[in-house]
C-alpha cells in the first residue's frame, strides 16, 4: 500500500496534547519499508514520544545518513525539516546544524551499517564533543537495502539468511558511547514500546549527547534461527535493568512509587526520570560499572536494555565553545562585521 498517499482524515475524538495537536500531526508519509519492519515501530515510538512531550514539530530537525533506518525520518514529523545526508556522515551534518541554531531539537537517525561501519569515526567524535542531540541507531545487524550482508554489529557466530557464519567480532555501540563520554546512554528493543517511548522522551529532554541503541529486527534478512538480532532471540535474551517513567518538567508527579524501588533523576531542564530498578546491582551514574555490567552480560549471551547511564547536569558543545545565546544563524552584519574602522587599525598594524 506504500504507493498510496496517506489519507489526512482522522477520528474526530483523537486525543490532543497541550498544543492541541493529535498524534497524526506528528506523522510523516507512509513507510516504504517492509511490512513488519522493526524500524516502523521505532518511528511510531518517536511519534508517540514527541506527541506526549507536546513538542512543536517544526522545532525538530531530523537528520539521517543512508540506509533503511535513515529513510525513516520521512515517516515521522512531516512538519519538521529533514536531511537525509551521506552514508555514515549524519553526525557531522547534525553537529553543523546544531552549531548554526542551538534552539532546535536535533534528532539523528542512523543504522548499524551507517554508524558502526562506514560512520564509526563520526559516531565517535560527535559523542566526544557532547553535541546536544538524540542519536538513535536502529540496529538490525544487517545491510537491508543491499540485501542481507552482515554489518559490524552482527555477533560473531551468528548466521546470515544465506547461511554464512559471521567470523568477525561485533562492535557494541553502547559500550563505545559510554567510553566516549555520551552523557545519556540507553539500549532498547523495537518490540518493546513501553520501554522505548519513555527513553526517547528522556533523551529529548536531556541536554547533551544522548545515544540510544535500538535493536530492531530486519524481517526480510535477519529474523531467522541462528540470528542474534531476530525478534525471538531478542525477546529471549533481553535483560532489562530498569523501566523508566518520564515526567516532564511541566507535569506534576502523579505516579506514586513504593519507597526504595524507584530512583528519581532530575535533568537539567527540570524533567524527572523515575526508574524502577529491575537489576538491584545496577548503578546508573557509573560509566565503569556500566561497562563491566554490559560485558559481563554480553558474555552470557544476554542483551542488556534500559537507561544505562545518565549525567543529568551534562554540558554540551555550545557550553564548551562558549557560544552566544542567540542562534548563530540569527546574527547579522551588526553582530558579525567589525567594520572599516577596525579594518583601518588592522591595516595600520601591518606596515
Amino acid at each position: 500500500m506504500t504507493y498510496l498517499a496517506k489519507p489526512k482524515f482522522h477520528h474526530p475524538e483523537l486525543p490532543k496534547n497541550a498544543l492541541g495537536y493529535t498524534h497524526r500531526d506528528y506523522e510523516g508519509t507512509v513507510s516504504t519499508l517492509c511490512a513488519g519492519c522493526g524500524h516502523d515501530s521505532i518511528t511510531s515510538a518517536i511519534i508517540q514520544a514527541c506527541f506526549e512531550l507536546s513538542i512543536e514539530p517544526h522545532r525538530v530537525a531530523k537528520i539521517s545518513g543512508i540506509g533503511c533506518s535513515s529513510k525513516t525520518p520521512t515517516y515521522f514529523l512531516g512538519n519538521s525539516h529533514g536531511f537525509n545526508s551521506v552514508h555514515g556522515r549524519m553526525p557531522s551534518v547534525l553537529t553543523g546544524a546544531n552549531l548554526a541554531n542551538r534552539d532546535l531539537i536535533y534528532l539523528g537517525v542512523s543504522g548499524d551499517g551507517d554508524s558502526a561501519s562506514i560512520g564509526l569515526g563520526q559516531f565517535a567524535h560527535c559523542l566526544r564533543r557532547g553535541v546536544n542531540m538524540v542519536y538513535i541507531v536502529e540496529n538490525n545487524g544487517v545491510y537491508g537495502l543491499t540485501k542481507g550482508q552482515f554489518s559490524a554489529t552482527a555477533d560473531r557466530g551468528s548466521k546470515s539468511k544465506r547461511g554464512f557464519i559471521n567470523t568477525d567480532n561485533s562492535i557494541d555501540l553502547v559500550a563505545m558511547a559510554l567510553q566516549l563520554g555520551a552523557s545519556f546512554v540507553a539500549r532498547s528493543f523495537s518490540g518493546d514500546k513501553q520501554q522505548l517511548v519513555p527513553i526517547i522522551k528522556a533523551a529529548i529532554a536531556h541536554k547533551g549527547a544522548a545515544f540510544i541503541d535500538v535493536i530492531s529486527p530486519c524481517v526480510a534478512f535477519n529474523n531467522h534461527a541462528g540470528s542474534t538480532k531476530s525478534f525471538d532471540f531478542v525477546r529471549e535474551h533481553n535483560e532489562a535493568v530498569n523501566r523508566l517513567d518520564f515526567i516532564s518538567s511541566r507535569m506534576p508527579i502523579e505516579i506514586k512509587y513504593e519507597p526504595g524501588t524507584v530512583e528519581v533523576v532530575e535533568q537539567h531542564d527540570g524533567s524527572k526520570l523515575a526508574l524502577r530498578k529491575l537489576a538491584a546491582d545496577y548503578e546508573l551514574h557509573d560509566r565503569t560499572a556500566a561497562l563491566g555490567f554490559l560485558q559481563h552480560h554480553a558474555a552470557k549471551g544476554q542483551i542488556v536494555t534500559g537507561l544505562l547511564y545518565v549525567e543529568p547536569e551534562a554540558e554540551d558543545l555550545h557550553a564548551h565553545l562558549r557560544t552566544v545565546d542567540t542562534p548563530l544563524n540569527a546574527l547579522d552584519e551588526k553582530d558579525l562585521c567589525p567594520g572599516q574602522t577596525v579594518l583601518k587599525k588592522f591595516n595600520d598594524s601591518l606596515r
Binding site: 512538519n79 553543523g96 557560544t323 572599516q340 579594518l343 601591518l350
Partner: protein
Amino acid sequence: MPTATPISRINDFVIRFANVNGSGSASANEMFARAVMRMGVPVAPRNIFPSNIQGLPTWYEVRVSEAGHLGARGGTDLMVAMNPQTFDRDIAGIEPGGYLFYDSTKPLPPSKFRDDITVIGVPLTAICNREYTDPRQRQLFKNIIYVGVLTALLDIDVKVVEQLIGEQYKGKDKLIEPNIKALHIGRDYAILNLQCPLGIKIRRANAVGDRIFVEGNSAAALGAVYGGATVCAWYPITPSSSLADAFTKHCAKFRVDPDSKKAKYAIIQAEDELASIGIVIGAGWNGARAFTATSGPGISLMQEFIGLAYFAEIPAVLFDVQRAGPSTGMPTRTQQCDITSCVYASHGDTKHVLLFPEDPAEAFDFGAQAFDLADRLQTPIFVMLDLDIGMNQHLSRPLAWDDSRKYDRGKVMTGAELEAGKDFGRYLDVDGDGIPYRTYPGTHPTKGSFFTRGTSRDRYARYTEEGAPYVDNMQRLIRKLETAKDMVPRPLIATAGKPTKYGVLYYGSTSPAMDEAIHMIEARGHALDRMRIRAFPFHSSVNSFVADHDFVFVVEQNRDAQMRSLIVNECGIDPVRLVPILHYDGTPITARFIAKAIGDHLDKLKVKPMKVTS
C-alpha cells in the same frame, strides 16, 4: 677581486637566506624584509620551507624592487649562507658578480667558493661564543647579528631595525635591549672589518605607499570574519592550517560579545576533512555562514559531500590553499593544481563556482564575497588560494570594507511569507534564474518544511526516480550556473599599447610575475593583450578574448594545463589556439620564466620562412 664585475644596483636585487629549520631564523629574516619596507622600498619575501619542524634546510628569499615587481624573479644576488648542508648548491645559485655572506668561523678551502662572486666572511659563531654562554642564546642572537651585518652591508638605517625590535618585543621589554645589542655587534663588526656598503644597497624611497604586509591566509580568514562566517570546521593540513588559525585569532579579537564574553562563532577542529565539510554543510543548511579551509588532499576526501551540497543546493565555502600534488606530493611547495578536482568535484555531473584571488587583498575581498555568493547561489564556492599567496607575506593594497554593505542572504522564504500563503517549492524556479527559494528549519509550524536529500526529487522536494523531473532539475542547475556568470568577479583585461594578434590568460598567484614579464616581453619587441581570470563559471568576455586573438597563451602552475582544459571544455574553443605555458616545480612562477617561454615562442613566429628554390 672577482672575475665578474660585482653587481651594482640600488633598491633592485634578490637576497636569499639559507637557514636550518627550527633555528629561529624566520623572525630575524622577516624583520629584515620589514626594514626594507619601512625604508619605503617595495619588498616581496618568500619562505621556502620543508615538511619538517627541525633540522632540514629552509630558505627565505627577499626580492627588493623599487619598481614594484613583487613576483619571484629567479637567481640570487646576495646569498646569506647559514646552512652548511646546502652550502654548495647555495653558492651555485648566486648570479655572476653576486655576493656571498657566510659564517667564516671555520676556515673553508678556496675550492668551496667561486671566483666570479664577492665573498664576505664574518665569524658569526666565534662572535656568539664570545658574547653568550647559553647555547640557545648563541643560536638566536646569531640571527640578529647577521641582520646587523646586513644593515651595514646594504646601507639600511639601523634606527629602522631598532624600532622594529622595539615593536616585536613590546610587552616583553626585557628582550629589547639584548636584541639591539646583538644588532649592533653585527653592525659594528661589519663597519670595522668589511667594505661597506656593497654594490647593492637600499636607499630610502617612497614607493610603498599605503600598502600593508600581510599573509594571504590571514587576509582570507579576515574576509571570512567580515563576510559573516560563524561556523568554521577544519582539519589541519599544510598550507591551509594557518587560515583556520588566523580565523581563530581574528574571532577572539573581533567576535567576542563585550558584555557576556561569549563567542559569536564556533570553530571545530574536526576528526578529518569529511567531518569538516559535513559540519559546514549542516550549518549552511541551517542558515549559518560556514566554511572549511583545506588543501588538495582534503578536497579529494570531501568529494562525496561536495556532490551532496551541489545537488541538494546547500551554501558552503571552501578555501583551498593549493600545494604541489598528486598524493602528498610536495606538501610545502606551491602549485595551482586543484582546478580540475575542484571545478568538477564529486561523482555525476557537477560544476562548481571557483574564485581565483591574486593576492591577500583579493583573498580578503573574495573571502568575504564567497559567503554572499554561496547564499545567493545555494551551492559550494571554492576560494582558490595557493601556498605562495597563503603562507607568504605580500605587500598588498590595504584591506577595505564598505560599512553600508549588507549581507546577501539569498532567497530565503520567511515565516511571514509562508503565513501569507506564498507557494513554497524548494526546487521551484520562480524567477527563471535557476535559483529556488529555501526555508530554514524551524521557520513555520505547518508550512515550508521539506526533506533535503541527495536523491532525486521533484520541484516540491518529493522523492522521485522519474526521468523527467530529474532532467528538469539538472537543467535548472545549469541555468543557475549561467546566472552565476554575471555574479562572480569579472576577468580583468589589460590591452597592449598597440594592436596585437596575441593574448595571454593567467590567474591567481601568477599575477605579479606576469605583470613584470609583460615588460620583458615588450622589450623583446612583442605586444600582448592580457586577461586575468578571476572566477569560474567564465564570463562571456573570456570567449571573446580568445576569439579576438590568433592565439592565446595560458600561463599556469601545474603540469596538465588545467585552466586551459577548462577553457577548451567550457567555452568550446579549438585547443590549438591556446598555448600552454606551464611551471610546476613547486617554486613560485617567475617573470624570467614567463618572459622566456612566451618570448621564445613569439620570436619563432617572427622568423620569415626561407624561400626554397630547387
